[in-house]
Symmetry: C2
């Protein structure tokens, strides 16, 4: 073990990634993101399909908001949530650095992207 004054978390080169990957690590939160990909929804609407209390979903949404993956705006007594997927590009970028280790699939994806963007 190296001797230093600070610990690993103090020198975390990208604490955002902790929050982003952490947020994506839970199936309910990924499901919520998928729901929001279809357009903005209120907390109640988002909660409806899930087999847990609204309060629990509310907390998951807070985690997503802390990771800046969603934004919540007040609309009367309703909180309307919408996706802000921009931080996903941070995660995407990090993963991209390891593309060399799965070059084949990466090439396939690159081909796909080229085709798509035509």
């Amino acid at each position: 073990m190296v001797e230093r004054t600070r610990n690993d978390s103090d020198l975390d080169p990208d604490p955002d990634l902790d929050a982003i990957f952490g947020a994506l690590a839970h199936p309910t939160r990924r499901a919520l993101i998928e729901q929001l990909a279809g357009g903005p929804e209120s907390v109640g609407e988002l909660a409806e399909p899930h087999e847990m209390s609204l309060a629990a979903v509310s907390k998951h949404l807070q985690v997503l908001e802390d990771a800046h993956l969603i934004e919540v705006e007040k609309d009367g007594r309703v909180r309307r949530c919408h996706l802000d997927a921009a931080p996903l590009s941070d995660a995407f970028g990090w993963l991209t650095r390891y593309r060399v280790f799965w070059e084949d699939r990466f090439d396939a994806l690159a081909d796909y992207l080229e085709t798509e963007s035509q």
Copy 2:
């Protein structure tokens, strides 16, 4: 809340993603992956730069192994770890589905990929 017999985790469409994203959510584990991107290393070598016990690093490596992000093979009394970044493509694939929400940056990445693959 929807009424069902099972709960959300039972119908997790991709439990692998829980493990993969969860593994990536910790700075030490991302650092370990970066180290292994430079080539295989033993547990001791991997642990050296980190300001924590070897036992703690060993546990982080176990998390990475559970997510199939690394493979560990015995080489005498040394355990040699190497990256198996293939599962990252699962994560990459999931993120790709939300590209439409950060299209600008995505286009930039796609351009970059096209250039790189020339």
